[in-house]
Symmetry: C2
Subunit: 157 residues, 2 copies
């Protein structure tokens, strides 16, 4: 896949948010060879944005490769890190995928499942825009924090 | 590995328990070709019992193969089925392993994590005797039911 120009504008205000910074941190954590060291943020996060054009290039049916799986993990790791930051309790993501890209991902805090999702078509993982990615993460985060607030005893177990 | 004679005695009373019956049911569920159809119970469960002699034959370091992983799943599926039977709520196991046989397994009921374990050396998965396997399962079951009793609201979510 070629690098689609402007999937994320360098001036996109979302790049300034804690979520985007955490995503970049997650991506750098798996960047063993320092490839991203002198990349701008929008280039590091670019693979997460699947514009219509980019999505069209990916076959409907396919197996997710290691790189896509690492990206999915980075996304849920970032959300876990944000949950942790807010509630001061450890949040642990767990991803389970079949070879065909179906699976389940959950995040636990103590003995509480704060997010539980079915994944489909993981080889096409991505969001229409960076803003939509952040919205999705924010939604998961706020639901998680609400559950933790209600069941803090279980979250603290 | 050759079939170690008498890893389980055909007269072992544990074979009569609900746990052993559930284990056999789980093993039959993955027995696509009906290989086990005319096997006695003790032969179907035999691979779960790693006598000292059998364990010695397995290298200390190794990657778990599909068959061992299926066995680990059968064990935690059986426990989940027993939890379900007792509390009338769906119990879902989730197993996550690296190629090297390290990982994590958990069982959730609703939004409650009723079991959470780290796995090691999965290629050597097994129990000294059938009785010890049942003890282990019973222990997990009773802890799970206790947590469910205490946090039935979260388990029912």
């Amino acid at each position: 896949m070629t690098e689609a120009a402007l999937a994320i504008e360098p001036t996109d205000p979302v790049l300034e948010t804690d979520f985007a910074k955490e995503m970049v941190r997650q991506m750098r954590a798996i960047d063993t060879y320092g490839t991203y060291d002198d990349w701008p943020l929008e280039k590091i996060l670019e693979p997460f944005v699947l514009t219509k054009e980019k999505k069209r290039e990916i076959p409907v049916i396919g197996d997710p490769d290691e790189i896509v799986i690492a990206r999915v993990k980075a996304f849920y790791n970032a959300i876990s890190a944000m949950i942790e930051k807010e509630c001061k309790l450890m949040a642990v993501p767990m991803l389970n995928l079949t070879h065909e890209g179906f699976g389940r991902v959950l995040i636990t805090v103590g003995k509480l499942v704060v997010m539980d999702r079915t994944l489909r078509d993981v080889h096409r993982f991505g969001f229409p825009t960076l803003g939509k990615m952040k919205d999705e993460a924010d939604k998961i985060l706020s639901v998680a924090l609400e559950i933790i607030g209600k069941h803090s005893d279980v979250a603290g177990m």
